[in-house]
């Protein structure tokens, strides 16, 4: 069966993109969606489009809101990347490029696919690039060979593209020159000169249009990259690849035409896969998984998630510990005490990261513990330090909640009214606007957290997390989550005495807490009859066995790890 590459390649390309982003890389899409807030208001529109490249930003953000459903987000990316390839192909066709070099037109799309694996590259650049090439195709398709029309068009289109889409105007410039010298020809020097003049005039006038940004930001215009220190070379390389592909397709002579399409298809796919493999960031995807699941309170999903890293980053352990603490087994016992040490732990940092390392998951932890003001502060700081100055729905929804819980209703309503202007948070906001104070009090989450807020004031110090837990525990001894965190904090710090003094009031003691107590009894040589808490026999035997093995193997961690990694005894003795 003869395969038509021109039909098959784009189809499989599009499906591959969709599958990748909708399923393999979906948490990136969910994260990106939450880091912005697209509003259907006039002010949002004017604020977004008023700077050069702003129109591209507006379209980009409009489309990104649909990442709320990764299947749709994946489809959008597939459509855009396929459109990029198609526009390049159309341009090549219009300048009578060699048909059999068709597979080369996929290179820029593969390149951009790889860039999209980094959440800091926005859709604006991709939309801008498509727009820039599309406009040039309109120019090419125009049958008029009238030099006046061409001159006017090419003079005006550069600043228009820059104002609409930003720096991709430079691609339009390059493509117009190619078009002039390869196809149009009549008066092409005059037309090309006008294009060059247009670029120069745009560059001279740019600072007056966009005076409040750095030079590279002014050149690019739109928010192609979320940080102000833009990797300009990456975009230059990308745009150069578009031009290079077009020039190759047009001018490079190829002699063996028959097999070249197949060879090129394979080569381009291999190159593309290499690009994507290089940019694919599994760790980042995992972090975004945890952020998504912690926020949506899918504790089971977190617990079931497989971690392949032997020493995962603190965000992973913070998330797992929170999920375990928020979950109970059939006997109503906290899973944190049951099996925390079956996961990698690394001291107090496993419970909560320092704010300078992570505001986001830490905010969730503080929120659930009842430190509502601090949770609000963390989420506000996280929002404020977002590199592209966006206010994401992730933050605004949580700010609405913390203010609702704290009784700062007017502020909560402000955020909720703003969220009503979004597509996917409108209903969520509306439901909360309807809530009376009684409704908040009786809500299982809000009501509980409202009760667990500190009763008397104190100053929060993130460097003294254990002391903070103690303060709030004294005010709320019925806060089981705080109790669990305190117990874990003592265990992580090898502080068995404080652990034991807190454990007294427990009714059913989880497995690993019993193990820790048993270890304490053994260390202090407390005979069975004097042990104030009864430990289950198998647990006692396990601890005794560990101590024996420790002695027999001269404390060799690598030997003991085979049998005891995942027990508190091992953590206590060797840490992980």
């Amino acid at each position: 069966m003869k395969i038509n590459i021109k039909k098959a390649f784009p189809l499989f390309f599009g499906i591959a993109i969709w599958v990748f982003f909708a399923f393999i890389y979906k948490y990136h899409l969910l994260y990106i969606e939450k880091m912005q807030m697209f509003l259907f208001t006039k002010d949002y529109f004017t604020e977004t489009v008023r700077h050069p490249g702003g129109f591209g930003d507006y379209i980009s953000r409009f489309l990104i809101q649909f990442y709320y459903y990764p299947a749709i987000g994946g489809a959008i990316l597939a459509l855009l990347l396929c459109s990029l390839q198609k526009e390049i192909f159309i341009f090549c066709k219009n300048i009578n490029g060699k048909d059999y070099l068709y597979p080369l037109t996929f290179i820029p799309s593969f390149f951009y696919w790889a860039l999209m694996c980094n959440e800091n590259f926005t859709l604006t650049g991709l939309i801008g690039l498509i727009g820039a090439i599309w406009i040039t195709n309109i120019y090419l398709r125009n049958k008029k060979n009238n030099a006046v029309f061409r001159g006017l068009f090419s003079f005006l289109i550069i600043p228009v593209i820059w104002l609409l889409f930003g720096g991709t105007a430079i691609v339009t410039f390059a493509l117009i020159l190619i078009a002039e010298f390869s196809i149009k020809k009549k008066y092409n020097i005059i037309v090309s000169s006008l294009t060059v003049i247009s670029v120069i005039v745009t560059a001279i006038l740019a600072p007056s249009v966009s005076p409040q940004v750095t030079n590279s930001n002014m050149f690019l215009g739109g928010n192609y990259y979320r940080y102000t220190n833009i990797p300009l070379s990456m975009f230059v390389l990308l745009w150069t690849s578009v031009v290079a592909v077009i020039l190759i397709v047009k001018y490079i002579p190829i002699y063996n035409k028959k097999r070249i399409s197949i060879v090129l298809t394979v080569a381009v796919i291999c190159l593309g896969v290499c690009f994507i493999a290089k940019e694919y960031n599994k760790e980042s995807e995992n972090i975004m998984f945890y952020i998504d699941h912690v926020r949506s309170r899918d504790w089971n999903g977190i617990i079931k998630h497989k971690i392949t890293d032997k020493k995962p980053s603190p965000i992973f352990t913070n998330s797992i510990n929170l999920a375990l603490a928020m979950s109970k087994n059939e006997e109503g016992v906290s899973l944190l005490g049951e099996r925390a040490f079956k996961y990698y732990q690394n001291g107090l940092i496993s419970l909560i990261s320092k704010p300078e390392n992570d505001w986001v998951v830490s905010s969730e932890i503080l929120y659930n513990l009842g430190f509502i003001n601090e949770a609000q502060r963390y989420v506000f700081e996280a929002m404020v330090i977002m590199p592209d100055n966006q206010t994401g729905t992730f933050f605004i929804t949580r700010l609405a909640e913390t203010n609702l819980i704290a009784g700062r209703r007017r502020v909560a309503e402000k955020y909720l009214h703003i969220l009503k202007n979004t597509l996917f948070y409108h209903y969520w906001a509306k439901e909360r606007l309807k809530m009376s104070e009684d409704d908040v009090n009786s809500d299982p989450i809000y009501g509980h957290l409202r009760k667990m807020q500190p009763k008397t004031d104190f100053l929060f110090n993130p460097d003294e997390f254990v002391r903070m837990l103690k303060i709030i525990f004294i005010q709320h001894p019925d806060n089981d989550l705080v109790r669990d965190y305190l117990l874990m904090a003592f265990l992580l710090d090898n502080n068995l005495n404080d652990f034991a003094s807190l454990i007294n009031s427990q009714k059913t003691i989880p497995h690993q807490y019993q193990e820790a107590l048993a270890l304490l009894y053994e260390i202090n040589s407390i005979p069975s009859k004097n042990r104030f808490i009864k430990i289950e026999e198998p647990i006692t035997k396990e601890v005794t066995h560990f101590i024996e093995m420790y002695g027999k193997n001269s404390g060799d961690a690598s030997v003991l790890a085979k049998y005891f990694w995942g027990t508190y005894c091992f953590y206590y003795t060797f840490r992980y």
Partner: protein, 476 residues
């Protein structure tokens, strides 16, 4: 066909001028946002567009002064700028009648008045827009807003110097030709403009902390600064979120012409926190706030920091200060901050709260006034609300004030304007008008340090390319 078109045209035109028939009267003022009922406005203020609170399908408003203006809308009244200007172009009173259509019926509310003062307000306001956050910051900038229109333009945004913080803008009696502001961060400095000359100076020195809160001498020859080491603390109960206090603070005087920072030991005592310095209207005194320094070890210690309003003589010829500090007001168990003398020399307005000096985070912070002629002090009940009132500033004529208030929702600071009459009584304050009455709902930044300016501020960011000038120190 022609007859049909003519008939339709007649219907449309007659509909345009059609006054809705009132079904019922309500003896209360209409609930509008912003609240522009019974306020006093200058002749050069932008239209007071408003929205009806609650649900309605149509609204109809008649503004009756010397002329009459009718405006209709769905639930908002958006007044045409040109017609508004001709309505308020002389002193008088406008009676506003509002009718609202609810469930198919028109309800007419009790009319309210808007009083037009003969006292013109300054050209505009200059303020910083910033998130009402904690330690971190992102995009911020200095903006100016022309009061007669809705035009807001950027002076400078920190996007031009990524990572920088722009703050403490100040003008000599609102004069845009005499202004200063700080840029903190890499390539930072203090921008000081005097007439055509704009320089960036590096006020950092080996002796004092950073120069923070500025105030110009009326001559433009000096700027008095506080030098502060500032710290934030974070509370954990719903009623209060954040506090800011000084670990150290002193007062220094900068001679603009000589580029010299003058240090006077009497204003730099270790046992005192001296801050918020301002020159008197005649330039012969410095008013400032001072508190006994407190060793902070518990939460309660913060509540012990209470500032008094003080003054010291100042010699504009030499830059020297007097030997004696006079306490004008000790706060009566509370704390004073942000003294701002009126330019006519009659008053000092200040904020008063239970403790401390960073009053924007104190719900109990209110505006008070000291009459310098009679030495009487009173709270400005006509301006204050149940929420925070904080930073304030006078117009050049001293007939108008602008102040920061969080009365809308308790967090986002908005600028309010009010008139002061010859008896020292203030009119009901009103929020800075916006083209869309719902503007403030969606606005996620606060208005910080609103200052009047008497003309358009012309500022080019090219100044940032200049080298930072070094200053000298004069220690007395």
């Amino acid at each position: 066909m022609k007859r049909l078109i003519l008939f339709l045209l007649i219907i449309i035109i007659s509909g345009c001028g059609h006054k809705p028939a009132t079904s019922s009267f309500c003896d209360q003022l209409p609930e509008i946002f912003p609240d522009y009922t019974e306020i006093t406005i200058p002749k050069n203020i932008s239209p007071l567009n408003f929205r009806i609170k609650g649900n309605c399908t149509k609204v109809y408003a008649v503004f009756k002064g010397d002329k009459e203006l009718t405006v209709k809308g769905k639930n908002k009244i958006i007044i045409p700028v040109g017609k508004w200007k001709s309505l308020i172009n002389k002193k008088g009173e406008i009676k506003v009648t509002v009718k609202v259509k609810i469930d198919g019926k028109w309800i007419e509310y009790k009319p309210y008045s808007i009083y037009i003062s003969d006292d013109e307000i300054d050209y505009g306001l200059c303020y910083r827009r910033i998130f009402p956050g904690y330690g971190a910051y992102n995009k911020m900038g200095l903006y100016q807003r022309e009061l007669a229109t809705f035009n807001e333009s950027v002076l400078i945004e920190n996007t031009i110097l990524p990572g920088s913080c722009i703050n403490c803008h100040s003008f000599a009696k609102g004069d845009p030709q005499k202004m200063q502001f700080h840029i903190r961060g890499k390539n930072g400095g203090t921008v000081i403009r005097v007439g055509e000359s704009t320089k960036i100076v590096n006020l950092k020195n080996s002796v004092t902390k950073s120069c923070v809160y500025p105030y110009w001498h009326p001559s433009g020859k000096y700027i008095v600064y506080s030098v502060n080491e500032i710290k934030q603390i974070f509370h954990n109960i719903p009623d209060i979120i954040l506090d800011v206090y000084d670990l150290e603070s002193d007062i220094v005087i900068y001679d603009v012409e000589k580029k010299e920072l003058i240090l006077h030991p009497i204003l730099m005592k270790d046992t005192q926190y001296e801050t918020f310095p301002v020159f008197s209207a005649d330039g012969k005194k410095i008013f400032f706030c001072s508190a006994d320094s407190v060793k902070i070890s518990t939460l309660k210690d913060f509540t012990e920091i209470k500032y008094s309003l003080c003054s010291i003589n100042f010699d504009p010829k030499t830059g020297n200060v007097g030997d004696t500090i006079t306490t004008l007001y000790n706060g009566e168990g509370a704390s004073v901050a942000f003294p701002r003398p009126s330019y006519d020399g009659k008053y000092i307005m200040f904020t008063r709260s239970a403790y401390g000096n960073f009053t924007i985070w104190h719900k109990d912070s209110d505006l008070w006034i000291l009459d310098l002629r009679s030495n009487k002090i009173r709270p400005l009940n006509e301006l204050n609300s149940d929420d925070t009132e904080s930073y304030h500033s006078w117009s050049a004529s001293s007939n108008w004030v602008v102040f920061s208030s969080r009365r809308n929702n308790g967090l986002y600071t908005r600028p309010y304007l009010a008139h002061i009459d010859s008896n020292g009584v203030f009119s009901k304050p009103f929020i800075l008008p916006q083209k869309d009455p719902d503007f403030y709902i969606g606005m996620l930044q606060s208005y910080n340090i609103p200052e009047f300016v008497t003309g358009k501020v012309d500022f080019s960011t090219k100044i940032l390319e200049q080298p930072r000038e070094v200053i000298s120190l004069q220690q007395n």
